[in-house]
């Protein structure tokens, strides 16, 4: 058989992707942390002997697209030749791994006939890592929990009990955290076994030749896409709420040739609170946003990510330095795609959507008995606002972008924790008007069950700064955090819900695209009939339709 089409290499590439998907699935099935099992907040991948990522599972969180891709190099640097079969390594260092302490990254070397031929790595969010708990209130990294530097969690197959004991004594819900810790090593081991089976089946000594094939194809395809962009520099700025002071994100995309650099000069300085973002996480979301628009079908690996580079000044909030607090780094991280897509719009006007709610409205709730000795509960809910209108399509109502997470069923949340969610419903009139309307946000109302008091960690954006419309499209509705008696609450930080009161969240809507007067009357009529837009609002924004 001639090999012009390299059919067997294609088959093996597909198989390798299926190996890492299986690795990821094993983790989802066994994980305790809600964000992993319900929302796919994890990553799984296979790496070659020099630590280059060869394939990665497509999971719910683009935040791990790139962060993990760099991690394995650190372990090779540090442990290199001392690695033996049965070793498993771990870290949660935000700057070496995924940007905050709540993610464990576990790396397992793969040996074949005595030779180290590659690695499996996986990352998952854990329920707790000690410290203040998951929220933005920390002033330094040390308040945010336990940092585990790169070290062995198994040495030649024997568990590092000292590490397990330290963990057990420093985190809340320690059984679940330790359970997730082991789930990560189990999922890597699943990958390791499947890879060895695959190498047997195809009679290969290792994955180097296949990796070379994958890298060559991926890099060529990515560079072809980037070469098609008009050369130039494209800038965009986006004002946001921040924690205690407004924040501005700024980017300059430089295209030319076959690479694309995103430079974040002009972005606000580091915050004194835990909304800072390590550069590795900034890069992950920048790459994700750009890949969606430019190279959606090219799988993630070392070579397909290589033509994308980022740079940022040291003192900026998107390039936080140790020991800055970073626990809620996802809030600004989720807004990075809006930022880079805004700049990209100038190079290719027909691709990017208008700005959206973008940052998830994660609600971390602690329920404690008001008297007596009942059990406390930690409850995590994911909620999404509206996405930005697209050049030819309305925005998506209450749908996550860029995150790919799923919300949890209300019935399940209420069976887990002592609270009642009274409302979780679309929020009319929150989508920015336009030829294409922005996606609607949603409204959530909840209160404690009798005998319990609730506190929650607010990590909400776009309460003061809306998702902006584009090309004449109007802005999306801003978010609101309040009680049912009208009291306004802060959008960031830990707060209590007074007994007898309901917490009310109005999530932001997406921006519109194109001038409202260009929206067809039939679309306006349909929106009014369904109640996405009230008649009053429709008459104001779309008078031509009446």
């Amino acid at each position: 058989m001639s090999t012009t089409l390299q059919v067997s290499q294609q088959i093996m590439w597909n198989r390798l992707i299926s190996v890492v998907e299986e690795q990821a699935l094993t983790l989802i099935r066994t994980a305790f942390c809600t964000s992993v099992r319900e929302a796919g907040d994890l990553s799984a991948g296979v790496f070659d002997a020099s630590g280059r990522m060869v394939a990665q599972a497509v999971t719910g969180t683009p935040g791990h697209v790139n962060t993990m891709a760099e991690t394995v190099f650190h372990f090779i640097d540090q442990f290199g030749d001392t690695m033996v079969p049965g070793d498993v390594f771990v870290t949660n260092d935000p700057w070496l791994a995924t940007g905050h302490l709540h993610d464990f990254t576990v790396v397992t070397p793969v040996f074949r006939e005595g030779r180290r031929i590659g690695f499996f790595a996986s990352t998952a969010h854990v329920v707790d890592i000690g410290g203040r708990g998951f929220g933005p209130d920390g002033r330094e990294l040390y308040e945010e929990g336990l940092l585990i530097p790169p070290l062995r969690m198994f040495k030649a197959g024997v568990v590092n009990q000292d590490l397990v004991d330290i963990l057990t004594n420093n985190v809340r819900e320690s059984d679940q955290v330790v359970g997730d810790f082991f789930s990560l090593s189990v999922c890597n081991d699943t990958g390791r076994k499947r890879l060895l089976e695959m190498l047997d089946e195809f009679s290969l000594p290792d994955i180097e030749e296949l990796a070379t094939f994958i890298f060559a194809h991926s890099e060529r395809a990515t560079r072809e896409k980037l070469a098609a962009l008009p050369a130039g520099e494209y800038r965009y700025r986006m004002p946001l709420d921040g924690y205690d002071a407004p924040v501005e994100l700024a980017v300059t995309l430089s295209c030319g040739g076959e690479t694309l650099n995103a430079d974040f000069t002009g972005t606000s300085a580091q915050s004194g609170f835990g909304i800072n973002v390590p550069l590795t996480y900034t890069k992950a979301y920048a790459c994700y946003g750009l890949k969606c628009a430019l190279a959606p079908s090219i799988p993630n690996n070392w070579a397909s990510l290589r033509p994308f580079t980022v740079s940022a000044p040291d003192d900026c909030i998107l390039n936080a330095q140790r020991p800055a607090p970073v626990a809620a780094r996802h809030v600004l991280g989720h807004l990075v795609p809006d930022l880079v897509l805004g700049a990209l719009r100038q190079a290719c006007p027909t691709l990017p959507p208008a700005e959206g709610a973008s940052a998830l409205w994660n609600l971390q709730i602690s329920a404690r008995p008001t008297h007596g000795t009942g059990v406390g509960r930690e409850i995590l809910m994911f909620n999404s606002g509206g996405s930005g209108a697209r050049p030819t399509l309305d925005g998506l109502n209450a749908t996550a972008f860029p995150s790919g997470v799923m919300t949890m069923p209300v019935e399940v949340t209420e069976s887990v924790g002592p609270l009642v969610i009274w409302r979780k419903e679309l929020r009319p009139d929150s989508g920015g008007a336009g030829r294409q309307r922005g996606g609607l946000g949603q409204t959530i109302e909840l209160s404690a069950r009798e005998g319990y008091a609730l506190t929650f960690n607010a990590m909400f954006e776009r309460v003061e700064h809306p998702a902006r419309g584009h090309n004449g499209g109007r802005n999306g509705g801003i978010g609101v955090v309040a009680l049912d008696d009208g009291t306004r609450l802060r959008a960031k930080g830990r707060q209590a819900i007074p007994t007898g009161r309901r917490l009310i969240l109005h999530l932001p809507g997406g921006g519109g695209y194109g001038a409202p007067q260009d929206r067809p009357a039939a679309s306006v009529a349909r929106d009014v009939e369904a109640g996405y837009v009230s008649e009053l609002e429709a008459r104001t924004s779309y008078p031509h339709a009446f």
Binding site: M1, T4, L5, V7, Q10, I11, N14, R15, S18, E21, E22, L25, T26, I28, R29, T30, A31, F32, T34, R37, Q176, G179, F182, V186, H217, S218, A221, C292, A295, P296, S297, I298, F382, N383, T392, L393, L396, N397, A398, T399, G404, V405, M406, T407, P409, V410, E411, V412, E414, S415, V420, R423, K424, E425, L426, Q442, E445, A530, G531, Y532
Partner: protein, 701 residues
Amino acid sequence: MTTNTRSARAGADIGGTFTDIALEVDGQLHSAKTLTQYAAPEQAVVDGLLRTLDQAGVAPDQLESLVHGTTLATNALIERRGAHTAFITTEGFRDVIEMRTESRFEQYDLNIVLPTPLIARQHRYTVGGRMSAEGQELIPLDDAALEAIIDAIEAKAYVSVAIGLMHSYRNAAHERRIRDRLQARLPHLSVSLSSEVSPQIREYERFNTVCANAFVKPLMSSYLGRLASGLEARGITCPVYLMHSGGGLMSLASAAEFPVRLLESGPAGGAIYAADIAARYGLDRVLSYDMGGTTAKICLIQDQRPQTARTFEVARTYRFKKGSGMPISIPVIEMVEIGAGGGSLAHVDDLHQIRVGPESAGSEPGPACYGRGGTAPAVTDADLILGRLDAENFAGGSFRLHRQAAEDALHRTITAPLGGDLIEAAYGIVEVVDENMANAARVHAVESGRELDQYTMIAYGGAAPLHAARICEKLGIDRLVVPPGAGVGSAIGFLRAPFGYESLRSAVMQLATFDLATVNDLLADMSREVSTFINETGYRGEVEREFKAYMRYAGQGWEIPVAVARGELDERDVADLHRGFVTAYAQIFGHAIDNLDAEVVSWSLSLRTPIAPVEPRQFGKAPPNERNIESRDMRAIFDARHGQFRDSQVIERRAMPVGNSIHGPAVIIEPETSTIVPAGFDVTRQADDCLFIERLKETAE
């Protein structure tokens, strides 16, 4: 000639394209295939049945039973051809079926379109009143608001109403009260309750399921009524049963009340068909593999029973992608469906790789080689170029395949942009589609905690026998069975289906705080529900009961089924539950977790007629006897494993000797399909006409 002593039973399967009839008379099978008539689907059933009865010489009134399965309900959902339906739900939750899981089913596509909710927002009404997660009334039902909603339902002339309230799987009192009020004022209204259609936790799935039921109910009960009277008018007076998605039979009346249970009944028939063959040969671990024109379906069959699930997805709108359809939570035979069929089209992607499907050439224009104007290369075109199909003898010689058109299509799409030769391109297409299917099977096995290498594959459907052996090679499966009648497998499967029904109820409960009384009440309730369904069918014979608890460690999100010995639990059973869970968990994930409590999320009770114990047959296999083979045509057929053409024997299935093996490479031909037996395998026709294909022990080949 007709006599009174014959035993005659029929199965009828309405599919998207064909309506299949299988008639079994004294163990002898007769079948018919007619085009599905969308305007009056019952007509094709009645006509096909009469014709088959006539051919078999059986009078209509001698037919003993008819088992029916249909995709009509599925198609109505896909095409949104249902009744003018309203949905009444809890205040604050109007948009549950629209907000879905708040996620995107495709991460990297900025222009996805979410599926339209089955019932538009203006037809969704909310009423005050609230139950807690434990089923306590937190707020009473708002009667005044309800009466106003009923006014609107009357004024807007809704034909059908779905009712879905929060936590109704624990306490259905409010849902029932709404039904009572609706029926009191509007007696002709069709009403569906989520607590009856799908009493499972997770509001999105349950609400969507009750909406789907309400949406198709008027249509399906009208259809079933016409079918019953149409049959009666032509003298067919036997009982009619409906195949449900869980693989059992139910009465016509139950089907009219719960038409959502008819979804996927056709594919379920296929799995039952494979399970029956598994039972015949005593095979405990079987992978059933069905490949048709547009999709392939894979099902695991353990201990002769198809694996079941509690939820599935219909009407996917985006490349068969998970999450792009609508969830239906009812007991269902679990199948993985992927866009891989004979008509699946190949293209070249940005990475210069060959991709196949899920786009399909369908039956019009069909693959390029059909010569009906198709210009894109389909899997069938590649199969033709690789010698797996005979251009002159396709579909029993009913039409000729155009090799030139296939070559042109491959050239245009594959070799022009990529280089290489036609054979390599065809090999690439077939290898990619086979890998896609093998991969789907591999992932499904992992999800189910199974290892496939000890399995036997049973392959049916028009395109499966062409691809099955290669997929076995990829999966490390050594034994493959290709049963006869593969083209009407679902209809035959209907004849083998047991009377059976499964009830599922949710009640989340940790073992440490287990409430025995509540659970026992629930189980008693489920027992009554299931018995009612079985009684409806008229079946009065022996039944088998199977209780299962769906369990997980408290804090996890994915449950695994654990067998429960009895329907009335005491303290000891709680300890047994824990033990059973830990064992099952360790089997799937390789380790158990200390110190953590487990919880039950849902309970399942199924009742079914027992499988008649049969002495399993052994596969017969004697050494080759060359003289027994009448035809010795040879054809060059491409062997994907070795990457070269091999001279292969061409043998007619009906001319094969029974019991003597034939070594591959060979192709076994019959009008509906061809079975490829590669080098390294042998094939033996069995007395029941199954082809038994086995991988030879690795020797110097």
